[in-house]
Each structure stands twice: as structure tokens, then as C-alpha cells.
């Protein structure tokens, strides 16, 4: 199948490697899945070595990513069946080429390859435990939730607690349950594109 011509288009070894990579990753990916409100700090730690760091001001170590296909898999992926693997491979190839080409002057203005950990349209939020000893959970929510009044309330509290200029991602000092409630309301109230399926 791999070397036979089919309608004038020859499938080469590359397609085999792509399929192998896709199948391997599909098996691995199915376990994680994609849950919008899933606390994924644990997953973040696991896939640390496969994340592309934004080269904006701290150059990424390129060696990790040249020889390992899995290195380009974005952590939170869409439903595996719906996204074509060739498209993902094409995107990762483009990203690789761009990393090779970019020089220091241009990197500040390059299109955002930033933060492969956060998908497009989403932003990371760190929600602290209510008690001092609680660990903070990392959530990934759609950016438009921030415009919702409930989130405005949470951000006001964050500002009183930490100020505007804290390092790292947005940090909200509230209980995780309260944050999840706010996110659910924002999801339902803002167009309801992704209403939880079991309602």
C-alpha cells in the first residue's frame, strides 16, 4: 500500500511515519482527552519536556524538538477524530521551520507561536485554595469569560490580594468550586456554545 501508486499520488515513507505517530499519540491522547475545566497541573508537569517554550525572550532549546515527533503535540487537543492529522503535522512543520529561521530581531514581532500549552482562544488561570496550605490549580478557560461580570468580581478580589503586576499567569485567590461555578455560568450565559452535554 505504501509504495503502490494510487491515482498518480505516491504514498511514501513519510506517510507511514505520520500514521505511526498519529496512532501512537492517539492512544496516549485518548486517556487525557480534552476537558475544558479539567485541572491540568498534573498533565502540565508530565508533558513539560514536550512543550515548545515561546522563544520570545528566552530561546527554546531546539534539540529536543527536532528529532521527536511527539514534541509538537499540543497538550490540550480537540477531539481526536475531528482534527485531521495531516493538518497538525503541517502546522508543526511550519512551526519547526519558523524556529529555524527566526533571528533575535524578529522574534519579538513574530506571529504568536507562544505557549503551546494554551490553545487558541484560551487563557490559563491559577486558582488558589481557600486555605493557606491549598495548592493552586491551573485551569484553562476561554478568554471571553473574562468579560463576564462574575469574572470581573473574581478579578477585583485578585487585584486586592496580589495587585496588577504579579508575575506569572492570572491568579485568583478563591476556592476552586467558586471558580468552577463562575465559569459554568459564563459558559451558559455567553452564547452557550459549549453547554455541558449532560444537561
Amino acid at each position: 500500500m505504501l509504495t503502490r501508486r494510487h491515482g498518480g499520488f505516491r504514498l511514501g515513507r513519510k506517510l507511514l511515519s505520520v500514521w505511526r505517530w498519529a496512532l501512537c499519540h492517539r492512544r496516549r491522547g485518548a486517556r487525557r482527552g480534552y476537558l475544558r475545566l479539567q485541572p491540568c497541573h498534573e498533565a502540565g508537569r508530565r508533558s513539560d519536556d514536550s512543550i515548545i517554550r515561546s522563544p520570545l525572550l528566552s530561546p527554546a532549546p531546539p534539540s529536543k524538538h527536532h528529532h521527536h515527533h511527539q514534541g509538537f503535540m499540543v497538550q490540550a487537543d480537540r477531539d481526536a477524530s475531528s482534527s485531521p492529522r495531516m493538518l497538525t503535522w503541517g502546522r508543526s512543520l511550519a512551526r519547526r521551520m519558523r524556529l529555524l529561521r527566526r533571528n533575535r530581531k524578529d522574534r519579538l514581532l513574530a506571529e504568536d507561536t507562544a505557549e503551546a500549552t494554551t490553545p487558541k482562544g484560551q487563557v490559563a488561570v491559577y486558582v488558589g485554595g481557600a486555605e493557606p496550605g491549598g495548592e493552586s490549580m491551573r485551569y484553562v478557560v476561554p478568554v471571553v469569560y473574562f468579560n463576564h461580570p462574575l469574572f470581573g468580581e473574581l478579578l477585583r478580589e485578585a487585584e486586592e490580594e496580589f495587585g496588577f503586576e504579579h508575575p506569572g499567569g492570572i491568579t485568583i485567590p478563591c476556592a476552586a468550586s467558586r471558580f468552577e461555578r463562575a465559569a459554568a455560568v459564563a459558559a451558559a450565559g455567553g452564547g452557550g456554545k459549549k453547554v455541558p452535554g449532560w444537561w
Binding site: 521551520m97 530581531k105 504568536d112 505557549e115 482562544g121 490559563a124 478568554v143 506569572g168
Partner: protein, 404 residues
């Protein structure tokens, strides 16, 4: 082969054409692409001609009401005057300083002026009357004259506060930083009050590289020298600087140590229960905690002085001096200010673990959690023009058109 494909894949934006670095190649003035635009919370004026050369302006809003103001005027006899005002606690102080610092030197509104919004005429125009008197005098522009103009503005704002104190006590907690640049013949004056910053881009010999030189010191309590100065001025006050939310602040309230406005920290009679509780001081003070005395430098422009970036601290929070001058140096002149803002916003988005394209979906006020109001003015110096002393083109006047 992959070049066009990559451009297709990288998709959105593409506002800035990837033109080769002008650098040494273009010694003549820019292509004259004077486009003005507005996109949501971003306003820009890509390029305009002024007496000193070319200028590029851009403003990005983050607060509910824009607290940054900027102003540019280019007309004889003063030459080119640039002002960046970073307000806090409300927009009133920045607007007042912006209106009262810049004279219309000829006394008539310029029919060719590129006013985008005409500010309502103010009766209190002491600052620019003073500058106008000074500039027509025998000495021209001097550092003392600029200092007096600042003090006059401070007095004017104090008078305004005393007028409005009964009706609007919150005006006592409004203040603004001021960064003023004057290019008069071949002399550059930079006066700074607060934590805005002016950075000069200087060509390095014939290497084609660019070096950054900060022109004025900042008055921010996070600097050791400023803290020591404050402690020396207020030996009886152990709480004069305090760490809050990880940054040093004067009395735990405000980062800048000098400003226009902020009368609640300058006159004890305005620090009463009528202002918001978070601004109240537990103990009354006898001498003003903040001052309105600017740091002024003057220098003669040299042929290798290429451009000056005047920007509020919203930019410098995310970009270093060297990064900023390299960005300006390695792209075409038109749109430089907008380019700097884009770079700062990309860095801000990266810090918050999100994409730059998603930052634009966030409303103002919430945006403040990601970045501050940013104002950038890039002045490209045309040394030959200044050396000849030729008046160039028509007078120019620019005001930011966001949310006035």
C-alpha cells in the same frame, strides 16, 4: 519554497510588511505614510512630519477610562514639543497637564493642525503662556523655564482641586507623571517627573547597530537611589517607603515619588475622610510627601542620534531599552510606535500564558490585569534639517483620539 506557505499558515494580522531593515540604507526621510487608525483599544498615527524630523504615535488603552494622555506640537519658535502623561487615580490630572502644558504659540488655532479632537478651551493656560513668554525672550528655551512651567501646571491643578474639592473629593487622589521633550534647534531638553522614560537610539559607528541610552532618571520607589532620597528627605517617617504586593511604594500607596497632582500626599488638608479609605494616611504629615520638581537634562544632538522613544511605563514594563531600540531600528519608520506596542502586548500575553490575538478580545478594565495603558511616541531626528535651522513644512499638533 516554504516561505509563501509559511506566510499563509501564519495567517492573521500581517499589518506590518516584512520590509528589509532601513538601517543605513535610507538616509532620506520616510515614505511619508501618514495613516491614522483605530482598532478597538488601540489608536495610532503611523508617521507625521514635524520640525525635528518624523514622528510616530500610538496609544493602547487598558483602564476603564484612559488615564494616559499624549500631546505633540511642532511650530516655531519652540520647535518640536512632545509630552507623555501617565495618569493614575483618574484621568483628570493627565488631561489637565496635557491641556495646560502645550501652548498654541501663535495664539491662533492652526487651520492645518491635525487635531483629531479639539479639547475644550481652558481658561487656565498658565503653563503655555509661560513657555510662550520664555521662548520669545532672548535666551530661548532653558531648563529653568521648563521647570517653572511644570510648577505653574502644578499650581494650576492645585487651584482646580481646591475649586472642585467640595463637589468631587476624589480629584484629590488623581495625579499624573509627565515626560516632556523639547527639540529646539539642535538642543534637546528632556524633563521627567515620574516613571515614564525617554530612550535615545544611537547608531554605533559604522557597524549598523543601535545602542540605547536612557535620557532621564525615573522617580520610582523601586529604585534604590530614589528610596534613599526619600528616606533622607523624611528622616522622621519610618514608613515613608513600604513593600506592598511585591513592589516598593511611597507610604505603601504609590510607586512614583514625584508627580503632578496627588494633592492628598502634598497637602494634609486633602487627606481627610472624604477621600477613599485606601488613600488615607494614619498620621498627618507636615511637609509634602511627593514633589513636583522635574529632572531635566539637556544635550546637543549629534549626527548619530537616530531617534528617541518617549513612552509611559506600560511599555517599559514589558520591553527593555535595548529591545525597544532594536525593534525601531530594524523596521521602517512608519508604524514604529504601533510596532512597539504590539511587541509589548505580545510579551504581556506571553507572561499571562495566552496568545496575543486573544488579548484583543478582552475588554478594557479587565485588560488592566494584563497590561497598563501604553503611550508611545517615537521621534526620528533629521539632523541635517536641524543643523540648517530650516523651518520644515506646516505646524503640527497631535492629540490622542481615544476616549477623550
Amino acid at each position: 519554497m516554504l516561505g509563501p506557505l509559511l506566510r499563509l499558515l501564519s495567517g492573521c494580522g500581517g499589518v506590518w510588511p516584512t520590509s528589509p531593515a532601513p538601517g543605513a540604507a535610507s538616509s532620506s526621510s520616510s515614505s511619508g505614510e501618514d495613516s491614522e487608525g483605530r482598532d478597538g483599544l488601540l489608536w495610532w498615527r503611523d508617521l507625521a512630519r514635524c520640525h525635528a524630523g518624523d514622528v510616530s504615535v500610538a496609544v493602547a488603552q487598558a483602564n476603564q477610562v484612559l488615564e494616559d494622555q499624549c500631546c505633540l506640537e511642532s511650530a516655531p519658535p519652540l520647535g518640536t514639543v512632545i509630552g507623555v502623561f501617565d495618569g493614575h487615580g483618574g484621568p483628570e490630572a493627565a488631561r489637565f497637564a496635557c491641556d495646560n502644558l502645550f501652548p498654541n504659540l501663535r495664539g491662533n488655532p492652526n487651520p492645518n493642525a491635525t487635531h483629531l479632537r479639539c479639547p475644550p478651551p481652558k481658561t487656565d493656560r498658565r503653563m503655555f503662556d509661560l513657555l510662550a513668554e520664555v521662548s520669545s525672550g532672548p535666551q530661548g528655551v532653558t531648563a529653568n523655564a521648563i521647570r517653572e512651567a511644570f510648577l505653574a501646571t502644578e499650581e494650576g491643578f492645585l487651584a482646580l482641586v481646591s475649586r472642585l474639592w467640595e463637589a468631587r473629593p476624589d480629584i484629590a487622589t488623581a495625579g499624573t507623571c509627565c515626560l516632556v521633550g523639547v527639540v529646539h534647534n539642535r538642543t534637546l531638553f528632556v524633563a521627567n517627573l515620574g516613571d515614564s522614560r525617554a530612550v535615545l537610539g544611537k547608531k554605533v559607528g559604522r557597524t549598523g547597530q543601535i545602542a540605547a541610552e536612557q535620557l532621564c532618571s525615573e522617580h520610582n520607589a523601586n529604585q534604590e537611589a530614589v528610596r534613599q532620597e526619600l528616606v533622607a528627605q523624611h528622616p522622621d517617617d519610618p514608613q515613608i517607603v513600604a513593600l506592598k504586593h511585591g513592589v516598593w511604594r511611597v507610604r505603601g500607596l504609590i510607586q512614583v515619588s514625584r508627580s503632578i497632582g496627588d494633592v492628598y500626599l502634598k497637602h494634609a488638608k486633602y487627606n481627610t475622610e472624604r477621600i477613599k479609605p485606601k488613600f488615607r494616611l494614619s498620621e498627618p504629615f507636615t511637609k509634602p510627601i511627593l514633589s513636583a520638581d522635574p529632572s531635566i537634562i539637556s544635550r546637543t544632538l549629534q549626527p548619530n542620534d537616530s531617534f528617541i522613544i518617549f513612552a509611559s511605563d506600560g511599555l517599559w514594563e514589558h520591553l527593555s531599552n535595548q529591545d525597544a531600540v532594536e525593534i525601531v531600528h530594524s523596521h521602517q519608520r512608519a508604524g514604529s510606535a504601533r510596532r512597539l506596542i504590539k511587541a509589548a502586548l505580545q510579551e504581556a500575553a506571553r507572561k499571562r500564558e495566552m496568545r496575543y490575538s486573544d488579548l484583543t478580545k478582552i475588554d478594557k478594565k479587565v485588560r488592566r490585569h494584563f497590561h497598563d495603558d501604553i503611550t508611545v511616541i517615537v521621534l526620528f531626528i533629521n539632523y541635517d534639517l536641524l543643523a540648517k535651522g530650516a523651518a520644515r513644512g506646516q505646524p503640527l499638533s497631535i492629540r490622542c483620539a481615544l476616549d477623550y
